[in-house]
């Protein structure tokens, strides 16, 4: 279990959040939602241990293998797709054949098996993001941090990647922290929401979505989805 105790983060005199007490059981899909500049990416970076808390404490599970996806695909241009994905392998003592098996398997999952030997400049934006996701997923990661990974993609690719990510999470049940400013994206993907409502960032809210639908593709058309989107939009605007 990951735990935040009395957590607070301050930049100069401004507190982004304070007195956060959160417990995250393994295998949850949590979206961190809020307007630009509210501190959601900072919170994600703290959880990934790329930044530190001003006050309070973060406790990570004893053994974590994290994966991280940025808004940009962040691929190394001089490496092929396979080599870029291999960066995500954090387990030591793997034989070359074990490594290549893992790479092949994950590239198949993200539908890039045929592009294994291409360089990033030969890929489309969607394909680059798939490589970035594959790099984060490879090696059976126990915890995944995603910082607005689909924000720069068009709707068609975004929906496709959202569905694939959700399917993958349902199969592997790793803990996911997904930063987004899109209400629809957060409702579609997550089981739980961490909200930073507009205007009053200290009023952090945690919401359990308690979704009942099982069909990923049809969920966007369901009344439950629309109801949740409306409710969360109202909460973000401070109306609820």
């Amino acid at each position: 279990m990951l735990e935040l105790k009395n957590a607070g983060k301050r930049y100069s005199s401004r507190w982004l959040f304070q007195n956060l007490n959160l417990q995250v059981p393994t295998g949850e899909f949590i979206s961190i939602l809020g307007p630009s500049g509210c501190g959601k990416s900072t919170l994600l970076r703290i959880l990934a241990e790329l930044d530190t808390l001003t006050e309070g404490q973060l406790t990570q599970p004893a053994t974590t293998t994290p994966g991280f996806v940025f808004q940009e695909s962040c691929l190394l241009p001089w490496l092929t797709v396979s080599e870029n994905v291999a960066i995500g392998i954090s387990t030591k003592n793997l034989t070359p054949s074990e490594k290549s098996d893992q790479i092949e398997k994950i590239l198949k999952t993200v539908k890039l098996k045929e592009s294994a030997f291409l360089f990033p400049h030969q890929l489309s934006g969607g394909m680059k993001m798939r490589v970035s996701i594959a790099r984060a997923l490879i090696n059976n990661k126990s915890i995944l941090f995603l910082d607005e990974p689909f924000a720069a993609l068009d709707d068609f690719i975004r929906f496709e990647l959202q569905e694939e990510l959700l399917e993958y999470w349902k199969q592997h049940k790793m803990t996911v922290f997904f930063v987004t400013h899109s209400v629809t994206e957060s409702v579609f993907l997550s089981q739980k929401l961490w909200l930073f409502p507009q205007g009053d960032q200290h009023q952090f809210q945690e919401l359990d979505l308690r979704k009942t639908a099982t069909n990923v593709r049809m969920y966007r058309q369901s009344p439950e989805y629309f109801k949740l989107v409306t409710e969360i939009s109202d909460r973000l605007r401070g109306k609820a």
Binding site: A48, P66, E72, C74, L76, P77, W78, I87, S90
Partner: protein, 247 residues
């Protein structure tokens, strides 16, 4: 090669123009000798000229390699240790501002006459662009990529080898290209005081008022500079064809 065509045409036209004016008696060949005279001088003094040309070419290439090895290594040390960087880098900037022609006589006193002084002079001049450019490259790697390596628990050495050095490729290569021209200048400055090569040929020709030999030596130096740049461009295109380095 197409990009050099206008320059080539301009040089051919200017050379032909000077030749025509010279044949009409309207050109002072004592001040700027025409190409035919320079070519004749080179053929006439081919043994001494090509020996000097070879010496300068060899020392220029050697000093460029040495500058690369030293500049690159120093940049790596600086990037790994901020204290060393803050202690030494300002001194490197200070020495960069001292003209080599003022330092060269000191080098002769310390190292004596010979290639070692010329090499030292050329390295002194040409090391800085490689050092400075490599440092800029190593220090300006995309923050997200650095964090990515941190998330995947890569050591500082792994981050240096697999991210920072390849990510600095274009900066390093730009520094190398600037240094290749400076290496020729440093070699000539060294040869002026330590003897040998085209620098010494220019110096002795000057005292004998042999303008034609001075021009022959200048053309030789231009060829050395061009050859080095062309060789670096070929190496660069081979490397970037193998791996598309850019960040």
């Amino acid at each position: 090669m197409k990009q050099f065509l206008p320059t080539f045409i301009l040089v051919v036209v200017m050379t032909a123009f000077v030749e025509i004016l010279n044949s009409m008696g309207s050109w002072d060949a004592q001040l700027i000798p025409p190409a035919s005279t320079i070519l004749g001088t080179i053929i006439e003094n081919k043994d001494s000229f090509f020996s000097a040309f070879w010496d300068t070419l060899k020392l220029s290439a050697q000093s460029l390699l040495l500058s690369f090895a030293l500049g690159f290594t120093l940049a790596i040390v600086f990037s790994l240790n901020d204290w060393v960087k803050r202690a030494v880098f300002p001194l490197a900037i200070f020495f960069q501002t001292v003209p080599i022609i003022a330092i060269a006589p000191l080098l002769v006193i310390y190292l004596g006459y010979g290639p070692q002084t010329i090499l030292a002079s050329a390295v002194f001049v040409s090391i800085f662009p490689i050092l400075a450019n490599t440092l800029v490259g190593l220090d300006t790697i995309n923050k997200n990529l650095l964090e990515l390596f941190k998330v995947y628990k890569r050591s500082p050495l792994q981050t240096l080898i697999y991210l920072k050095i390849p990510g600095s490729y274009h900066f390093i290569f730009s520094g190398l290209k600037i240094s290749s021209g400076l290496a020729v200048i440093g070699v000539v400055a060294g040869e002026f005081v330590a003897g040998g090569g085209l620098g010494s040929l220019i110096d002795t020709s000057r005292t004998q008022q042999r303008i034609d030999l001075v021009f022959a030596a200048l053309i030789g130096l231009a060829f050395i500079g061009l050859w080095q740049i062309m060789l670096l461009n070929v190496i660069n295109s081979l490397i970037t064809r193998w791996r598309p380095f850019k960040l």
